[in-house]
Subunit: 468 residues, 4 copies
């Protein structure tokens, strides 16, 4: 029941006769990262083929469409996009022709100096056809291209600031790039003789591929018929992995940044119970599905029974028609309904992963309250969200973030809960990494943005070139 939205998931395969179908399957394992559009580009060794469309993976690709995507290598993409720019124009992969030939690109992340880069390129006569960062990345590659594609790619990495887990496909090559800070996850695996790359391990699990390792922050991997090569244009760099991948985005069955998301999430719940116990609690219920793992952890430490006290309907999409004024406000009710008998006369703890605007939390509290509990306590398995994300998560502006504008007391009153308790920043880091906040970006909780301007960017490339 989260108000945040990740922007994307990416996938790539090189060297499999069913590249398009493998990608189609792999994208199913990333569907939770983006539901607005999906696309696949393949290479048959000579030409690139592309299909992308608004909609879920299962709806975008028919047997016929997949048959029209021949070749042994492919990249794929799923996308969530904000209302304003929700259009086919921004769907990915995008494909272009430039001096180096044909190139398709799919990325997950956000380029913070995108506008500035566009202006520079426009002044050199460049023409843009969308508002997407992906197009900027392609232009940067083309702009730095110099007989070798890798030069274009490293040129791009020197200029684009921010978060990018990116896959590119030329007629003969798959190129994998993760930004030097490593904001977004990206892992590689193997299926038969084919190399696979995906945003999450769920995607590899689904196709039966082995999970080999994370793509390292700042690493470029190229795959062609001569094999796999890896480059690290910036050398070792300081990491800023997104802590919210652990709190919410990644699927619980994913291994993210080397850890099982489910276990981390449960530990967040345990830590939350240590910091914010509820006296006399005799029922712990999650907001499904986002709060389940944390609620189980909370229940263990709190030593109060866990139950699925809110039932979720999985059939309601976005196109729901609101009835007239007199019977309005069904949004949340369509998705959630309490189990009255469980809740009645209990001291109930409702666990969720975050509160964004607060409107959903209030409806949940009211819903639970209507079943006659003794009291209703909200517990949140992350710190108050007070700052927007500039690295690839679509957050509301600060005006809309309840925790940026209200005290805990005010939030408690606003949600009509008997109490509201958040996890501390320190507690969060303890649960995630067992120790310090090193290596993670927690800007949405602290406002400490790791990359703001060019000077925050990793040192220029040393010319070091590692062979894989």
């Amino acid at each position: 029941m989260n108000g945040f939205h990740d922007e994307c998931g990416v996938f790539g395969v090189f060297g499999h006769p069913d590249a398009a179908k493998i990608t189609y399957l792999g994208l199913h394992g990333l569907q939770h990262r983006g539901q607005e559009s999906a696309g696949i580009a393949t290479s048959d060794g000579g030409r690139l083929h592309l299909h992308r469309q608004m909609g879920l993976v299962v709806d975008v690709f028919s047997e016929e469409v997949l048959a029209a995507l021949p070749g042994d290598s492919a990249i794929g993409h799923v996308r969530y996009s904000t209302a304003g720019s929700s259009s086919l124009q921004n769907a990915q992969p995008i494909r272009c022709e430039f001096a180096g030939g044909a190139l398709a690109l799919a990325h997950n992340g956000n380029i913070i100096n995108s506008d500035k880069l566009q202006d520079i390129l426009k002044n050199r006569g460049h023409v843009f056809q969308s508002s997407s960062d992906s197009e900027v990345l392609l232009h940067l590659v083309a702009d730095s291209y110099d007989d070798e594609l890798i030069h274009g790619v490293t040129g791009m990495m020197n200029k684009a600031l921010g978060a990018y887990s990116t896959v590119m496909l030329s007629p003969r090559e798959l190129i994998i790039v993760r930004d030097p800070r490593g904001f977004r996850p990206l892992v590689i695996g193997q299926l038969d003789d084919a190399l696979i790359v995906a945003s999450e391990t769920t995607s590899l699990d689904l196709i039966g591929a082995s999970v080999e390792r994370e793509v390292e922050p700042g690493e470029v991997i190229t795959v062609d018929e001569n094999g796999v090569r890896t480059f690290r244009p910036f050398g070792r760099t300081e990491l800023s992995r997104c802590v919210f991948e652990h709190i919410y985005f990644a699927r619980p069955d994913s291994i993210v940044f080397g850890q099982q998301a489910y276990t981390v999430r449960k530990e967040l719940g345990r830590q939350l119970a240590r910091e914010q116990p509820v006296e006399g609690a005799d029922l712990v219920i999650p907001v499904p599905d986002s709060g389940v793992s944390a609620a189980i952890g909370f229940s263990e430490v709190q030593d109060a029974p866990f139950d699925m006290g809110l039932v979720r309907s999985h059939y309601v999409g976005r196109t729901f028609i609101e009835p007239e004024q007199r019977i309005r406000h069904f949004g949340v009710k369509l998705k959630l309904n309490p189990v009255p008998e469980l809740v009645r006369d209990r001291v109930v703890v409702v666990v969720d992963d975050s509160i964004v605007r607060g409107t959903t939390s209030r409806k949940i509290v009211e819903m639970v309250r209507s079943c006659g509990p003794k009291s209703v306590h909200m517990r949140i398995s992350s710190p108050p969200t007070t700052w927007p994300c500039y690295y690839g998560i679509d957050t509301p502006s600060r005006d809309e973030l309840i925790a940026a504008n209200m005290s805990i007391d005010q939030i408690t009153e606003s949600t009509t809960a008997d109490s509201v308790g958040y996890l501390s920043v320190a507690g969060m880091h303890r649960a995630v990494s067992g120790s310090s906040s090193d290596g993670y970006c927690d800007a949405c909780f602290t406002g400490n943005y790791p990359v703001k301007t060019k000077k925050d960017w990793p040192p220029r490339r040393h010319g070091r070139k590692d062979q894989c």
Copy 2:
């Protein structure tokens, strides 16, 4: 992860200015009972308006479609249909003109003497346009009609054997009928001044209506501008409420046959743990979503931790494209993925509500096994399913029911589990009703079919007419 499918859900409203929209919302709360087609018929006091289509409720009805369904009363329907007869022709409600004027009908259940009734009517010159029981019911009403609609309805009840929770709409009247055995649930409630009827209480919860009571088995309720009247043409009758509504069909937040489905289901899990404990179990995981409540109950009695060790993807629909031979068999993997870290080195109990063909269970066991547990034990919160249902549930034939053809040992071997344990029939009844099997149909487990021929049918009507 159940292989059974309920046939339908029905809804009705009388006396609300937004009848079509209320019905649209109400059908969302019944969507789990049927996902193949949806329909709404409304009355504007003079004419009946109808829209029905293949697809989910959210896809079938647009703003424009709802606007073309005027009036203060409405009935609605969601339907699951078997492959063979999956067509618009069989979508409901169906609407007709007969001597009594216009009439629309929607029903949940199955008429066991449908073929015979059709033959009799055909010999009198009747013409049928579908293979649906609903059309037979309409013909029976028309055939017994005699100036008053209630005569047609009671005539129909005298002839149609089996399960029917049915709503009918004439231009000026809503008629609600539940068969004398009460196989399928049907409840009434109130929203403002309007009477509401629905298959499950979830539907009433969603629209904010109060839950008044169950429609009694054998009861006919008519609602028109003069008020509500109730008839019991057969007097008191012996009940055969479907025990599977508790085990699987109803949503856990529904109150079915007077009991909270979630609580009953959890008690089934508790009883299962008493009967079939797993020695040394250190993890209890459900097959989501069907096994969750029972697994929580099992975990309590077994005193082993409950965790969501299998993660379900909610984005995969029916039109999924199978890849080539070499990467086949993704059916289950697309929906479920284990959380490896949880399962590793544990004695794992996997709880589900039933085993139908056994193929899914085998895949689940293999999936869990691949994560390196000590052992994997299947526990099923219902008795072995050995007989088909003739009262409205779409079951495979006996050939396909694994428990009708194999011993427990053979099933264990077939699923590759370390052990398989089912709940006993007696244990099931204890969990459901606290005592005997009275009032429930358990034919799918026992083969004791409560209604086979005309002689099993309730006594003819005594002429008693109760005013509400």
Copy 3:
């Protein structure tokens, strides 16, 4: 540019391995008779298969749909329907199960005592699911059925008054029926060993079938594996063939009621020029496409050059969006545009086949006038349309028929033409049949309705059974 609409076209084939595809092709040759819905029913010898949908033939049937219509015999239908009842519910063929088994039916025409027949059947317990005459015909067949289908068919013919060119398909038999008055055309032909039946010869031409003969008025033809049999339950009957088929409905390349429609239409134009010449005319232009043949005939007798002075666009469908008030009234302009240079400074004769409401004619006159002609004269190749049709043509009510409410002078004024001239009733008959009005229905011009009540119906069946 005609405001009348025929209701339907029918097609049938027995004994061809590609029955569905032959029917699909044949319906293309009847598409001008109905553009709102299309349908095909086939028999595989045991079961009937049906597909029908709103839309043009080319849109309704895909490769996949045709593949799902197996069998050696088929019937098909195209339909135009009035706004009020334009729905899938009324699309044809319709299929039913009755005491005689499965039966599908498609018809062209109109049953004038349909309401009365429905009432009688409803009082016997019959249930109707549409407002179509076709369903009434099926019920009549079922009602009179008595071990042999032919009894059902002749029973139907005894009761249904009006116009019906009908094809029926049972699992093993194709039945062809034309009403005793022969209002609507129906011809049979041969393709390889298969018997073909169609509303017009264009349909037979298209599939390369020979044209054998008209189905005779009052004739029933049955085709099964034992061969072709013909019945004439009423013996010889008085004919009322629709003269408007010649004036407008049939395609000019059709041979209708034994005559080439193009030639008849040209002769109507020649006769019109004899009766209503335009002094000093130096240009004759048709309203395309309906007025072309008559205009060529007119031009020959008038001895003034023929030119295509109005150009028609064929790309505009029904869903055209009207712009705001200030730029309205584009309806006619979207379809027609004059050739200015042709018209300028000429005495122009505009020839059309009929005037219905007069609004289109006015727009055409204004359009031509805007190009600067000396004068504009409307000539109509049929008499004033003053009465509605009850035999299968969808006409406006008398209120809306301009010629039922205005004198020729008033019509001239209303259309803003310099003169308007109609063909006489006598002239029309001379052009059509070379002599008297015998054998034709001209009720829309004269109000002389050949069938009003039961007594106008042909003598009861004599029991005479003619073998083919």
Copy 4:
């Protein structure tokens, strides 16, 4: 029945409150120039809005889509595209952001040095996302842009060789450009206070706009809130207007290059009759609709009656399903059917505008022959088509052009006609311009291509700037 296809039609409006709807209507009047995709871009003074889609104008734009295209200025486009590149990617208008802001462009024509220009731009780092000339034109504008848009436009005109009738829309300006050779038509008109531009006058007629004048070859017209300005960067230039616009492309009611297309076409037929009369001809029939005007002209000079001996069906689209082998080759029959009675025992002249591959002509001759004429003579109102077009018409390659590979005798034999006669090149020019071939491109008949390389391009701009 022509095998050639024009590439496009363009439309523009500045200063009308209903700009999108005016454009929608205007595109209907150009629909014959392209049926594969349609698009409209509007400006609300600040932003550009765009909708484009595969399909006919009437299908691409709904009420809702038009409502989402606000503003007082707009450009529109219809497109025919060859199979290979038939995709949304190439639909127009295309919209971009460049240094000068937002810009949308729609064009009709073909740039012969497009590949070379792309290479040059790619080497400067440009990125292309489609294979369309339109994108090249946008890049050229952006590349030459220098604070004023007009500099970008004239820069583009200096580099792009070939045919372009182009409209561009910036947030505040409409720019109209016609190439210096004037290959494709482009006219301006007025509606209320708004300036309108369109490929053909039919488009202006439809919306009720006046026709002001042709956009002159080499002329640039800019329209903004300060008024209309015109530029002629190259001064006066030698014209190469496409003679095929007169022979086939333009609608007969269009005034093209200052002449009524219908009249020119009729004169082509008259000249054809002078050059290639048919002895003893007693019937002249056109291949509809392309041969109608010429056939009327032929009939006048030949003094043989004109009749519509072939009837065209307008309902068949591209998605037609071919039946099995045994009943194949229905392509032409679905569109055309002869009127047997007209043709029987006559010496028939069939007039068409051109023969491309010869397959259609053969089918037409066979079709007419099957009705029993004395003889069948093909007469073609243009010279043999022997060379491909590089200026915006989609022609087959020379291998496929029958006249490039066969003598007249061979063509006669191939089509099975009794004789085939073409118009001479000289005769064509006489009919079109009354005299010499000056000012027209006839390369498809002669191979005399007016623009092949840069040196054929008009003199560089003199800096002369004419105020309108």
